[in-house]
């Protein structure tokens, strides 16, 4: 049994997912109408008018958010009693389906090795919000986030993870990778083939806000890389792209919903695994995937949160949990869930053949996340400047 919980150290850091009653897909668990990263709504709850009149303070909610977070910083981090061996995997949005299957695979394999049974719990949300939850005291055993920058931030701001965490596991601690592709409407009516079509005046682009979404940062950098390779001014190029964006959602799933359910936009810049998932969920007669000439190698890393480990048994299980991600069976599972994994030996041939060849630049070409994050996406960084112009 693998109970899957949504949990968080504070109500604010906790992300909830909510299903729309207006969606016909709302009954299924894999509904793409699911939208995450709504943390402040958690602080809200239903209100009754007498109570509200008595408190008369909801106008302070904007301020309360900041205040409560400051408060949470001080008083967060409640201890958690643990009898049986438990692993809490704090992850980001699109890995939901993959880890649900992997947790089953791992617990079976772990007990078959003669170990005591282990319970794996999951928490999903926007990568940035999840990282903040861990910083604010969410007792994660392992984190599996969208960007190494997210884990770097945890390592910087707390003592939970050593600074050299990324060298602890193979392939920069990224057991699976993905890239950024285009999702276009069926038959590609606007003829979108590559990044230069994305900045055309007649094309509307859907991408989330890089400030709040890890995936959107990869989108931004992939476009930037294309411009650099083709001797265009990358700042103008990316600026032109964002002028074609009618809606900046806060998370990747939100953008997918805007594009697929609301019918807004001509092209969605998406995680490759999200794009394949959308095709699998909504049928490949509604959308096509277009692979651009240049894209970026997105490496979602995993690591152990050392200081949250409470026992040797837990440490052994959590280490094995991460290492087993590199086993042929787990890699096959990642491939089946539309991630580009490293080891194809146990995978079904069609899961491997699905991925087209793309010229991929990596984050190292930009100087690594510690450089990229403040320069491009920090306050007053290049993304902010694009909108200030």
């Amino acid at each position: 049994m693998l109970p899957i919980f949504q949990l968080g150290a504070s109500a604010l850091a906790n992300s909830t997912f909510i299903r729309s009653p207006g969606e016909d897909r709302s009954g299924t668990d894999k509904s793409t109408a699911r939208l995450t990263n709504l943390h402040p709504s958690g602080a809200q709850g239903p209100m009754t008018s007498p109570l509200l009149r008595a408190l008369a303070g909801p106008h302070w909610r904007g301020g309360l958010l900041a205040g409560l977070t400051a408060f949470g910083l001080t008083f967060g981090g409640t201890a958690q009693a643990q009898d049986a061996v438990e692993i809490l995997n704090v992850s980001y949005d699109p890995t939901r389906e993959f880890y649900r299957e992997y947790n089953e695979l791992f617990t079976e394999w772990w007990t078959a090795q003669g170990n005591a049974p282990v319970t794996v719990r999951q928490s999903h949300g926007g990568a940035g919000a999840q990282a903040r939850a861990v910083i604010d005291g969410l007792e994660a055993t392992v984190v599996t986030l969208a960007l190494s920058a997210d884990i770097d931030t945890i390592a910087e701001r707390t003592e939970l993870i050593p600074a050299d965490w990324q060298a602890r596991l193979p392939h920069n601690s990224s057991p699976y990778t993905s890239t950024i592709v285009f999702l276009v409407r069926d038959g590609n009516p606007k003829g979108i083939e590559d990044w230069d079509d994305v900045i055309r005046d007649d094309v509307q682009v859907i991408t989330p806000n890089p400030k709040t979404s890890g995936g959107a940062r990869w989108n931004f950098l992939a476009a930037w890389a294309y411009a650099e390779k083709n001797d265009l001014d990358p700042r103008d190029f990316v600026g032109a792209m964002y002028r074609n964006v009618p809606v900046l959602d806060t998370g990747a799933r939100g953008s997918t919903t805007t594009f697929t359910q609301r019918g807004v936009g001509d092209v969605l810049l998406a995680w490759e695994n999200e794009a394949f998932l959308a095709l699998a969920e909504l049928g490949d007669d509604s959308f096509d995937i277009v692979v651009p000439s240049v894209s970026i190698l997105a490496e979602p890393p995993v690591t152990l949160v050392n200081e949250n480990i409470t026992s040797d048994a837990q440490r052994a299980a959590a280490s094995a949990y991460l290492e087993h991600l590199y086993s042929p069976e787990a890699q096959a599972l990642a491939l089946k869930n539309f991630y580009r994994a490293w080891d194809t030996s146990a995978a079904a041939p069609e899961d491997v053949a699905r991925f087209p060849e793309v010229s991929l630049v990596s984050i190292a070409d930009f100087g690594g996340w510690p450089t990229v994050q403040p320069e491009y996406f920090g306050e007053g960084g290049i993304f902010d400047q694009i909108y200030e112009e």
């Binding site: 729309s20 709504l38 402040p40 008018s49 400051a70 709040t212 809606v247 806060t250 609301r262 306050e379």
Partner: protein, 279 residues
């Protein structure tokens, strides 16, 4: 402790106890979080706070938030009054159902409301398709923000005004009519003055709620900087950047503006009460 202001003239005992409980409750629920916010602001210092708030983008977001909240609350003031009036004064089939559904915006998670409104007003939604030939786009524009705020603010006006309308004596209107007042004059000089304090309270509550609203707006607004980016979203963005100071600065700015607006509304209320001399 038994002397002075704490002594209650009430024949019932227990003022000290209930006062203590109330104060403890208020402190934990309201004063502590706001104290934490202001405390953090104090540590930053007013000069730095001002520098962090004084950017074109934040002003654009603050202006948008307060403008949209004002427009939505004014709309609710007019139509909420009409709705409350109809619900109290007329008996018709389905009245109870409509009366109950006024509370829905309270009960519904605001994100659900936002998603439902977006689904309706998106270019491929029922209303969106009907409005498109007229060249009106609601979803992902400021119009969409108004719609969301009208939705969440409506019950505040209706539920504050409704009981006051119920208390109105029809005889007063009849007297006004027998003394020769026309209908419009009765409405303007007899009914509206009585309702003004309740209307202002409802308006203030709806306004206060709308200014800080995040959950529903985030789905229907396009969230584009300088166009449809509301101030609470900027707070969230600053938090994502781990810039707690800047988030605090925007929070305090919203708190101060809200406080000034509520102060002004209360001043109008006191003035109107003095002018009418009743209620």
């Amino acid at each position: 402790m038994r002397a002075g202001i704490l002594r209650s003239p009430s024949p019932l005992p227990g003022f000290g106890l209930s006062f203590g409980i109330t104060m403890a409750f208020m402190s934990i629920v309201v004063l502590l979080p706001i104290g934490a916010l202001l405390g953090r602001g104090l540590m930053i210092g007013p000069g730095d706070l001002w520098d962090m708030v004084n950017s074109r983008r934040i002003w654009a977001a603050l202006t948008l938030s307060f403008r949209a909240a004002l427009i939505a609350s004014l709309f609710n003031l007019v139509f909420g009054l009409a709705l409350a009036w109809v619900l109290v004064r007329y008996r018709f089939w389905g009245r109870r159902f409509i009366d109950a559904s006024v509370d829905l915006p309270f009960a519904l998670p605001t994100a659900v409301a936002g998603i439902a409104l977006t689904a309706l007003y998106a270019p491929n939604g029922i209303f969106g398709q009907a409005l498109a030939p007229l060249g009106i786009q609601v979803a992902y524009t400021e119009l969409g923000i108004w719609m969301a705020l009208i939705f969440i603010g409506l019950p505040f006006v209706v539920r504050t005004v409704q009981p006051v309308i119920e208390e109105l004596d029809r005889e007063v209107e009849e007297v006004s009519a027998t003394l020769g007042a026309r209908r419009a004059y009765t409405l303007r000089r007899v009914i509206l003055p009585t309702l003004t304090p309740a209307l202002l309270t409802g308006f203030a509550l709806a306004l206060a709620r709308s200014v800080g609203e995040y959950g529903s707006v985030i789905f229907i607004a396009g969230n584009l900087p300088f166009q449809t980016e509301i101030a609470p979203l900027l707070i969230v963005i600053r938090l994502e950047e781990y810039n707690y100071d800047a988030a605090t600065a925007i929070g305090i700015a919203m708190l101060l503006i809200s406080f000034a607006m509520l102060f002004a509304i209360n001043a109008i209320q006191i003035w109107s009460r003095r002018r009418i001399g009743l209620v």
